[in-house]
């Protein structure tokens, strides 16, 4: 990892009944990190502490190699984006963008060339004279990005900017924001409770709960191998099943769930573990028709289960199965139709051992 643009080192602080405890984060140039967690986990407080609105009781915050722990927000170079984008309602689009220059003493007038250049870059020059209340959410996002860029931030901080939007708009804006972040290569922290934001936007994810970071790492890794059942729950692992260890050979474990046996690869699980939780993502559960020959998965798990329900979710659907224990499979609606899944029928379930993540129970 390059020298981090942002380093939050062991920060603790108290705010009334709430406290942050030993929060550490690091962000490499151009990297996007999402802070994911339920309401009240301390995500926004962490973000506001990085922005300079709360003084940590202990620890240090370094932005761009400069210790900013005791600096006021206006002395740090951060671009804060809030819910609904926080455009100044009494100012036009051009004046909002100009505010970014004026506030940090880089320009005096809203019709300057710098402002025009930013308006053009974001394709909002035709909106220059409009007030924020007349803008679409997308136009607001672009205006807010332009305004924040005027300040030349070293890091962007997003505090749930999409939370008041409908699902379609959110998807569009998220995609637009992803493109911007890739192109501008400004590192960003993105606070959200929506895991889709994490998977689409971020390289790194940190999961927060009750003022602490409970797991951090590359998005794919955290989603594949949650460190505990809270993370598994929060990252949307569909299946969390209690099991009992039967035997172990190298990294391959035999686990009993009820009267069924499953094999799981867990090289890092402690040797003496007796009770475990199996975490299986719905998309890792493959379904076949009972008549179909086995795939060339020779060492995998293969069991016949009863179909309980098929729940349509647009393009995807969720199949609830029962075979002595409940199991949820996620597949495309097309695949579900081809398999002819009906409640009461049967399906063959295949799960690769490396798709089963084990947590000590």
């Amino acid at each position: 990892m390059n020298r981090p643009v942002l380093a939050v080192e062991d920060v603790s602080l108290g705010l009334g009944a709430f406290s942050l405890r030993n929060v550490s984060l690091a962000l490499a140039p151009g990297e996007v990190l999402t802070l994911l967690g339920p309401n009240g986990a301390g995500k926004s407080v962490t973000l506001e502490t990085i922005a300079g609105f709360h003084r940590p009781r202990a620890g240090r915050i370094v932005i761009g190699g400069r210790d900013v722990t005791s600096l006021a927000p206006e002395r740090r170079r951060v671009g804060l984006m809030v819910q609904n984008y926080g455009l100044f309602p009494h100012l036009t689009v051009a004046a909002n963008v100009a505010f970014g220059f004026v506030a940090c003493g880089r320009a005096r007038r809203p019709d300057g060339a710098d402002v025009a250049r930013l308006l053009t870059r974001f394709g909002i020059d035709h909106l220059a004279a409009r007030l924020p209340r007349d803008l679409s959410p997308g136009e607001k996002q672009r205006t807010a990005l332009a305004r924040a860029l005027a300040r030349q931030p070293e890091i962007f901080l997003f505090d749930e900017p999409f939370s008041a939007l409908d699902a379609r708009t959110r998807d569009t804006l998220r995609e637009e924001l992803r493109a911007f972040l890739r192109e501008a290569a400004v590192p960003a922290i993105f606070v959200t409770h929506d895991q889709a934001d994490a998977t689409v936007l971020a390289d790194q994810v940190a999961i927060m709960d009750r003022g602490r970071i409970v797991q951090a790492g590359p998005v794919a890794e955290v989603f594949r191998a949650p460190a505990n059942s809270f993370v598994a729950d929060f990252t949307g692992v569909e299946n969390r099943l209690p099991g009992r260890v039967v035997s172990r050979a190298g990294g391959r474990w035999q686990i009993a769930i009820g009267d069924r046996l499953l094999q799981a690869d867990a090289p890092s699980l402690a040797a003496g573990t007796a009770d475990v939780f199996l975490c299986i993502r719905g998309e890792d559960v493959a379904l076949r028709s009972p008549g179909e020959p086995a795939s060339d998965l020779s060492t995998g798990n293969r069991l016949t289960m009863r179909v309980e329900r098929v729940i349509g979710l647009g393009a995807l659907c969720r199949v609830v199965l029962d075979g002595g224990f409940p199991l949820i499979a996620c597949l495309t609606r097309r695949a579900a139709r081809d398999l002819g899944l009906v409640p009461g029928g049967h399906a063959v379930v295949e799960i690769e051992p490396e798709s089963i993540h084990l947590l000590a129970g």
Partner: protein, 290 residues
């Protein structure tokens, strides 16, 4: 509390060019009918006496009364003192409103209640209390006279003090609502863009709260002009307009008093409508960099 609103809107609503009006009246619900019926009793209660007073006066008697120097001086004194009181209210009332809107200390409710006390105190009582505090041997009056040479008994300063006491709650409560309505996230964004707390106050918070602050100041000014009880106890001479009207009533009877009352009513309304118009224009034009 928004008496000026009613006055401003009534003139618009009566015009024929309101497409919303007949559409909304097409099938009024029972609740709306009853509300309007009872509400119009209130409107009549306010408008009819004032209108009756105004039309009872001939132009000649108005001209006659307006030509009297003592009447003109009283009205000018009222307006000037009310403007002074409003300025002081802005200077000390708006900061308190800001503090109340942002603070989270436990005694916040008590402080807010203290500010509202003048609304509940009979104004003659307020006048007597002020006389004790600002009189020659009062806790404020004695040092003010000793160090600043400022006396409050029978002076413009006394009129301003009496007006301020009874009218400043309107500024504090309206400005507080204004400050509370400003999204704190906007202030945070402005800080991260590079503005210190004072510049954020000036460029973001005040422009966004301005409508409410102006409404409060206008109500304060209106209340100050109309104050009689507290003023008359603290300062009989020089006479403000309400005191003068009272004196005319005692000396010459209803007719003389009614003429001056009409004059004061008309001038007050003109002044308030003018302020309101100015405040709204200011609100629209407070755009930054324009």
């Amino acid at each position: 509390m928004r008496s000026a609103d009613l006055l401003a809107d009534a003139s618009v609503a009566s015009g024929p060019s309101r497409p919303r009006w007949p559409a909304a009246m097409a099938r009024p619900s029972g609740v709306m009918l009853v509300s309007w019926f009872l509400g119009s009793v209130l409107l009549a209660f306010i408008v009819v006496p004032l209108l009756g007073l105004a039309i009872s006066q001939s132009g000649a008697s108005l001209v006659h009364v307006a030509a009297l120097p003592e009447v003109r001086n009283a009205i000018l004194l009222s307006f000037a003192s009310a403007l002074l009181a409003t300025s002081v209210a802005a200077l000390i009332g708006v900061p308190l409103a800001y503090a109340l809107a942002h603070a989270t200390f436990p005694g916040r409710g008590i402080v807010a209640a203290i500010v509202d006390i003048p609304l509940a105190v009979p104004h003659t009582v307020a006048g007597i209390a002020l006389l004790f505090a600002f009189g020659r041997r009062g806790i404020f009056g004695a040092p003010a006279e000793a160090w600043l040479g400022l006396r409050f008994w029978g002076t413009v300063a006394g009129i301003v003090i009496a007006m301020l006491f009874v009218s400043v709650p309107y500024t504090v409560s309206a400005a507080r609502i204004g400050f509370e309505s400003v999204d704190p996230r906007l202030e945070k964004v402005a800080r991260t863009l590079g503005m210190g707390a004072w510049r954020v106050l000036w460029h973001v918070t005040l422009p966004l709260a301005w409508r409410s602050i102006a409404t409060g100041l206008i109500l304060t000014c209106a209340r100050a002009i109309s104050e009689f009880g507290a003023v008359v106890i603290l300062v009989y001479y020089p006479m403000t307009a309400p005191v003068k009207i009272y004196e005319l009533f005692l000396r010459f009877g209803l007719n003389e008093a009614a003429a001056m009352a009409t004059l004061l009513l008309a001038l007050s309304l003109i002044l308030l409508i003018l302020f309101r118009w100015l405040a709204q224009g200011q609100g629209r034009a407070s755009g930054y960099g324009r």
